[in-house]
């Protein structure tokens, strides 16, 4: 208990009353005092309410804040001791009270529990005096300080005072370190000579030598064994875990396929089922609702958005009434010494504003032969013009002879194939210059050193100067056409055709085959891929096959699709299939016979073109008129225009409007036909130049800008802008034009039928006539007989009268006759 008290005293909190109550009870040890706090005279106590009543020191009644103490007589204490004995609250301090010198003791109410309990007793007179009359020094000192701050400070040297023990020496004693045990002193001596002698160390096994070491082995000392009677263990429940592993059997991968086919009934079964009653009943019950539904659809289309279809066009761009082609730009090659004409025009498929033009000499055949020497010196060119530079062509492709037609490869716009006047096919590859011409629009002021490739010859660089590019592949003269190549086309990149003529699907996705037709009545298919066995020239083309057309009129243009139509000079249009068949007799490969032959145009047909909107509508232009055909309609053209005043020399469908096409005339006029406006004459006719128009090619760049390139005989290329009205289709133009074509087809059918009817009628009429003739013939036969008879009778009469006259027959006889 003694050790615990200081700690307890320092705890200023409410304290552990419970502890306090238990401890003092029944112990005759020293009373608790506050020596540790420096007040050895203070004895804290707990006084119960009973005690408080006895001693009249009840809280808040007898002892208050103003007077928290009470002086109590010694005798009162003794009485209490007598009465209550050990249970008295003052029992622990009984000794102090007995030894107290004075008569009255001071009991102070410790409201703040300064000493840990609610009351404390002061055990010395001094303490009492101190408490009752607290020294005034602190107050004086405070006053003194206030007072002095205004006066000068007078130095008072410190006066030594006797030291008053406040308990600190005890602490110092406790803290100071003292030697607890006496130090042992040893003195060791040896002979002097032994010191400093050389020493030799050696190893020795300690366990062999006796007494080489002394050990203190550890031994369990019973005094220090502790038996652990209690142990803190924690436990956790875990589920039972088992580790297991498996492995699947690895089998090698195998390709497996399944194929299925649908279940079907045989014909017999179908027939049986169709006759069955359940089916008939079913149909009867179901047909009503089906017919209602069908009729609903016929009456009206309930899903049409009327609001949307009410609108005509979106906001018009440009003047609505402007229907003329506006001149945009025109290009002429000013460098060439001789007069040239443009034979073919093609827009670059991807780059905006780039157009290629093939120029040829404007000479007839005899003149060509005449000037052949001079012509060899001048290069034949394809010129590339760009919108940004109307004077200098951007690129010039050289070829061995005049090019009559050329085309960009659809899958790679850097490859161009052209057909020459001498029957050769020439190819160029402009990949090296592709980026140059792509950036033409930016002004062309970059000086970029082009990388030289061995195939190309470049002129010394100055940006304004156009590049001459030589061809990279040429067909051989012996294997190619003999006459001028009139048209050339790339096979679309889904087709491929082999030697036999059957069509394959092209896996490469790039165009690799060409078709050409020429004036020597042949059509050739070319493949531009290198042959399988390595040849010295990897880009030599190999000829696949050639189809001989079994008539001796030269063919002009052709337009390619799955089954094509070559055209003849005499204006005939032939429709054939290009499959090759084996002639069973001779074993040679021949083409099929042409299916049908029409003479429609009275001049050379030079344009055949499929409509870009309908797969089976074809436009043919030649001579003095135009015709529109539909495939599989064999009876004739859907539309055939009447003869125009001037020859038509070129033409093209419009790219955006299904019913519009452009035709160029030989007097420099462009006729614009609109099938929805007028079908008997062009809707608009506009003068472009003074000479014959050789080629027309429209091109769309965006929905708002459409150009048409018109090339003329004098070598000038005109670019015109197509106005809004001509480029923008109306909302249902396609269906209207479709209707028109259908009507025309029906009309043709009707005409056919009429023809048949007329034939029949004619036959009938003939038959009738025949019949009539027969009848009259019969009639006259009878008549003749009757007449004969009548004649005979009259003759008899005559005979008789003559005889009577002669008197050879008597009157009586006569009378008998008369009687008769």
């Amino acid at each position: 208990m003694a050790t615990k008290t200081p700690k307890r005293g320092k705890k200023a909190a409410r304290g552990k009353k419970a502890q306090n109550l238990t401890l003092p009870a029944g112990e005759e040890t020293e009373p608790v005092n506050m020596e540790s706090m420096g007040h050895p005279e203070i004895y804290p106590l707990v006084l119960t309410t009973k005690t408080q009543e006895i001693f009249k020191c009840r809280v808040e009644e007898d002892v208050t804040d103003e007077q928290p103490y009470k002086l109590i007589n010694k005798e009162t204490f003794f009485e209490d001791f007598k009465n209550r004995g050990p249970i008295s609250d003052f029992y622990p301090v009984k000794k102090i009270i007995q030894e107290y010198p004075g008569e009255e003791l001071l009991l102070v109410y410790d409201k703040d529990f300064k000493y840990g309990l609610n009351f404390y007793l002061i055990g010395t007179e001094e303490g009492k005096e101190n408490y009752l009359n607290p020294p005034e020094v602190p107050e004086e000192q405070e006053e003194h300080k206030d007072y002095i701050s205004e006066e000068l400070y007078i130095y008072k040297p410190p006066v030594s005072k006797p030291w008053v023990s406040l308990g600190s020496e005890k602490e110092i004693e406790e803290e100071s370190v003292k030697e607890s045990t006496k130090q042992i002193r040893y003195m060791i001596s040896r002979k002097r000579s032994r010191f400093g002698a050389p020493i030799k160390f050696s190893d020795q096994n300690a366990s062999y030598v006796k007494d080489a070491y002394i050990e203190c082995t550890a031994y369990p000392d019973k005094n220090f064994t502790l038996k652990q009677l209690e142990k803190d263990i924690s436990m956790q429940v875990v589920p039972e875990i088992k580790d297991m592993s498996t492995q699947t059997k690895w089998t090698y991968p195998k390709n497996a396929t399944t194929q299925y086919y649908p279940r079907e009934f045989s014909e017999k079964e179908k027939k049986v089922l169709q006759q069955s009653k359940p089916l008939a009943d079913f149909l009867e019950s179901v047909s009503v609702s089906v017919e209602i539904a069908l009729q609903q659809n016929e009456i009206t289309n309930t899903f049409i958005d009327d609001w949307k279809s009410l609108a005509e066009d979106e906001g018009m761009f440009g003047d609505k009434s402007d229907t003329h082609l506006k001149e945009y730009q025109s290009f002429t090659d000013l460098h060439s010494p001789t007069e040239k004409m443009i034979t073919c025009v093609s827009w670059h498929p991807t780059i905006y504003g780039l157009i290629a033009v093939s120029v040829a000499e404007r000479l007839s055949f005899e003149e060509r032969v005449h000037f052949s020497g001079k012509l060899l010196l001048q290069p034949s060119l394809i010129l590339f013009w760009s919108f940004s530079d109307p004077i200098h062509p951007q690129l010039m492709l050289e070829s061995p002879d005049d090019i009559f037609c050329f085309k960009f490869c659809p899958s790679d716009p850097n490859i161009i194939a052209g057909g020459c006047i001498n029957g050769q096919i020439v190819m160029w590859d402009i990949t090296a210059h592709a980026d140059r011409i792509e950036n033409i629009k930016s002004g062309g002021s970059r000086s970029k050193k082009a990388v030289l490739k061995p195939m190309f010859i470049l002129e010394p660089d100055s940006n304004k100067e156009a590049m001459y590019i030589r061809h990279c592949a040429v067909s051989s003269i012996e294997n190619g056409h003999k006459k001028v190549i009139t048209d050339i086309h790339w096979l679309p990149d889904t087709f491929e055709i082999n030697r036999v003529g059957s069509v394959f699907e092209n896996r490469n996705g790039i165009c690799c085959q060409l078709v050409t037709c020429s004036a020597d009545c042949t059509v050739c298919f070319w493949d531009i891929r290198p042959q399988k066995p390595s040849t010295p020239q990897p880009t030599e083309k190999k000829k696949e096959e050639s189809i001989e057309i079994p008539f001796d009129v030269p063919s002009t243009f052709l337009h390619l699709d799955l089954s094509w139509k070559p055209i003849s000079k005499e204006g005939e249009v032939i429709y054939t299939d290009w499959k090759m068949e084996r002639d069973p007799e001779t074993g040679r490969l021949t083409t099929k016979k042409p299916v049908s032959l029409y003479t429609v145009h009275d001049g050379a047909v030079h344009t055949v073109q499929r409509s870009p909107f309908y797969n089976d509508i074809i436009l043919t232009i030649g001579g003095w008129n135009v015709a529109i055909w539909k495939e599989n309609v064999m009876s004739g053209p859907l539309l055939q225009s009447c003869c125009a005043p001037k020859r038509y020399t070129s033409g093209h469908w419009s790219l955006t409007r299904p019913g519009v096409f452009y035709i160029g005339r030989e007097d420099g006029y462009v006729d614009i036909w609109d099938l929805l406006e007028k079908t008997h004459e062009p809707a608009l006719s506009q003068n472009i130049c003074i000479t014959m128009i050789t080629y027309i090619k429209p091109w769309t760049f965006s929905s708002k800008q459409q150009f048409i390139a018109i090339a003329d005989y004098y070598g000038t290329l005109h670019i015109l802008e197509i106005p809004w009205t001509l480029s923008r289709p109306s909302t249902n133009e396609m269906s209207s034009v479709n209707h028109y074509f259908e009507r025309e087809v029906k009309h043709l059918d009707y005409v056919e039928q009429r023809k048949i009817i007329r034939e029949e009628e004619k036959n009938e009429m003939e038959l009738e006539k025949e019949k009539k003739k027969v009848k009259t013939y019969q009639k006259s036969k009878e008549q003749i007989e009757a007449e004969l008879k009548a004649d005979y009778e009259s003759y008899l009469e005559l005979e008789k009268s003559v005889l009577i006259h002669l008197g050879l027959i008597k009157l009586s006889e006569k009378m008998s006759y008369i009687d008769l």
Partner: protein, 128 residues
């Protein structure tokens, strides 16, 4: 000629009616075959009808006006779709049943008239 005495209103799931007095399907009656022909021809002659076909309950075509591959494809697909549609309707309300199915697409409209044993499929192009 045997006249089927039921009124022309569509009747559903009353197979007993039909199966009762009806004869097994193998008995061939010439009049019925003609009726079937006539009905189908009438349907085909409506404006815009591209084709029609009669398919049995398992999706095997019985009679059609289109070519074989197209027929088989339509039959298979529409049969499954009809089954699905019917089961949907019946799941929501078991007392209900599918009477007609119309599928409208951009190009044409497919009409399916289902029954216990057969399906009549008509394809029509409704736009003028």
């Amino acid at each position: 000629m045997v006249n089927v005495g039921s009124p022309p209103a569509p009747r559903r799931s009353e197979g007993a009616d039909r199966l009762g007095p009806s004869l097994p399907g193998s008995r061939a009656v010439p009049g019925r075959g003609e009726e079937v022909e006539e009905t189908l021809k009438r349907i085909q002659s409506h404006k815009g009808v591209i084709g029609n076909m009669v398919v049995n309950a398992e999706g095997i075509p019985i009679r059609t006006t289109l070519d074989n591959s197209t027929t088989v494809q339509y039959a298979g697909l529409l049969h499954q779709l009809t089954m699905k549609a019917r089961s949907t309707v019946r799941d929501i309300d078991p007392q209900n049943d599918l009477t007609f199915l119309r599928i409208r697409s951009k190009k044409h409209e497919i009409m399916v008239a289902p029954d216990k044993e057969y399906l009549l499929i008509v394809i029509q192009n409704p736009c003028e």
